[in-house]
């Protein structure tokens, strides 16, 4: 049985890559509007878990649900997810604008050009809109990757170490943007090594170690509400 209030739910999720068991029977629930941080040392499977939660990777066993329905059972459900990873997922030989418009078209966004313009303004790269992605810096690329993930305004946003490689102002900008998403009631899950960011943004912190998840993998409404109030204050 799945909880309808859950934005993401994983049941006995395991993933084996080659001979290595990266994830071991993980049970996880993230409530709608909640912000969860995923920590753990390098190679503990944070990226793999996010890939399974986003249905990019198929789990070896176990199930993932988005809003109570099996993840990506229907391709149209992928509109529920936006994801930012280590790799930009941007086409280096398309311009910034072309990358966003392309993504907007494939997500059936109403006015792709207008939406791309709006996001380019939001990430402060409108002046570079007609430059090819291969010609911009990594930090700018990361901003654009985030814009691409937000192009269809997904209710769930997964981010794989979004703060790594960003300078201070970009980190502050990203933290503000994630706060805004939280305020809008969007569900966030991000992996990080940065304890400061974790404390400032997340309602809950989960730690991956040896393929197991520790912390509070299943949401407790009361503690989440307390965190909300703490962040609001």
């Amino acid at each position: 049985m799945t909880n309808q209030k859950s934005a993401i739910q994983a049941q006995r999720l395991s993933k084996r890559i080659g001979d290595r068991r990266v994830l071991r029977e993980i049970d996880l629930e993230i409530a709608e509007g909640e912000c969860v941080a995923l920590t753990g040392s390098n190679g503990t499977g944070k990226t793999t878990l996010l890939r399974c939660l986003s249905a990019i990777a198929r789990p070896t066993s176990g199930k993932v649900y988005w809003f109570g329905r099996p993840a990506a059972a229907d391709p149209a459900q992928r509109r529920l997810i936006g994801m930012v990873s280590h790799e930009s997922r941007l086409y280096a030989h398309l311009t910034l604008r072309e990358n966003l418009v392309f993504a907007a078209r494939l997500f059936s966004v109403a006015d792709p050009g207008e939406r791309a313009e709006q996001l380019l303004k939001q990430i402060g790269l409108v002046s570079l809109a007609d430059r090819q992605v291969g010609q911009i810096s990594r930090g700018m690329g990361q901003r654009l990757a985030l814009a691409r993930a937000l192009i269809h305004d997904p209710p769930i946003l997964l981010l794989d170490e979004p703060f790594s490689g960003l300078d201070r102002s970009s980190r502050d900008w990203l933290a503000r943007l994630l706060h805004e998403r939280r305020e809008q009631g969007r569900t966030l899950c991000f992996s990080t090594h940065d304890e400061q960011q974790t404390g400032q943004i997340a309602d809950r912190t989960l730690t991956l170690s040896g393929g197991f998840l520790t912390g509070h993998p299943v949401v407790a409404d009361q503690s989440m509400e307390e965190n909300r109030h703490r962040h609001a204050a």
């Binding site: 994801m83 790799e87 398309l94 993504a103 059936s108 691409r148």
Partner: protein
């Protein structure tokens, strides 16, 4: 869905236009193979159609492999493949888009090679232009269907190029044989029942492998 298919194809064509990686190499290789074959061919006029038909399709096969090997090249960098998977698209649509890009590349190659063979080998391949066009379209579709499917099978492998060639070459042998024979019949002006059987074979081959690709693509590229 048709508009999404178009934007997937458009994206690959725009990137190829800007990068100019597969098409120039493919066309150059095709022209070199055609010129070398034809300069070395010292045959009687009645022997030429059979030899030229086979050489034409071998040239298409070798040069076409360059384009096939580059299938999905745009997605092999910066995690773009994952980006494509995250779009709300059936995997069959991605396969059809990749197939269409390969099909367009092969047709462009044939637009160069067929007239080149007409001139260099002095065989009337365009006497029945519609018949040659049908052979070229169905042959290209079969090649593109197999190439795109095998390309998906070898997705992410380290020795991708070598493995892809090893798998594609034997699978495309029927297309080369049927294409060569159908082209020979066009050149000798015999576009009757025998020619039609080869065309039907090319059509059936293209349908079978396109259907296989549509069904299997999602499983082949899944992580």
């Amino acid at each position: 869905m048709a508009s999404k298919l178009w934007w997937l194809i458009h994206k690959d064509l725009v990137i190829e236009y800007r990068v100019r990686q597969a098409w120039p190499a493919m066309l150059l290789l095709g022209i070199i193979v055609a010129v070398v074959f034809n300069l070395q061919m010292d045959l009687l006029p009645e022997q030429r159609p059979a030899a030229a038909g086979a050489l034409l399709w071998l040239a298409i096969l070798f040069a076409g492999l360059v384009a096939i090997e580059r299938t999905g090249a745009a997605e092999q960098q910066d995690g773009c493949w994952d980006g494509l998977v995250l779009f709300p698209l059936p995997s069959s649509l991605i396969y059809v888009a990749k197939l269409a890009v390969n099909f367009i590349a092969l047709l462009a190659l044939e637009c160069v090679l067929v007239p080149l063979f007409v001139v260099l080998a002095d065989i009337p391949l365009l006497r029945h232009a519609w018949a040659m066009l049908l052979v070229a379209v169905l042959g290209s579709l079969g090649m593109a269907a197999v190439g795109t499917l095998v390309s998906a099978m070898t997705h992410g492998l380290r020795q991708r190029g070598a493995i892809l060639s090893l798998l594609v070459l034997p699978l495309l042998l029927p297309v080369v044989l049927a294409g060569a024979e159908a082209s020979r019949l066009v050149a000798v002006g015999d576009v009757g029942t025998q020619w039609w059987r080869w065309v039907q074979f090319l059509g059936a081959f293209a349908i079978v492998f396109t259907t296989l690709g549509i069904v299997l693509f999602g499983f082949l590229v899944e992580e």
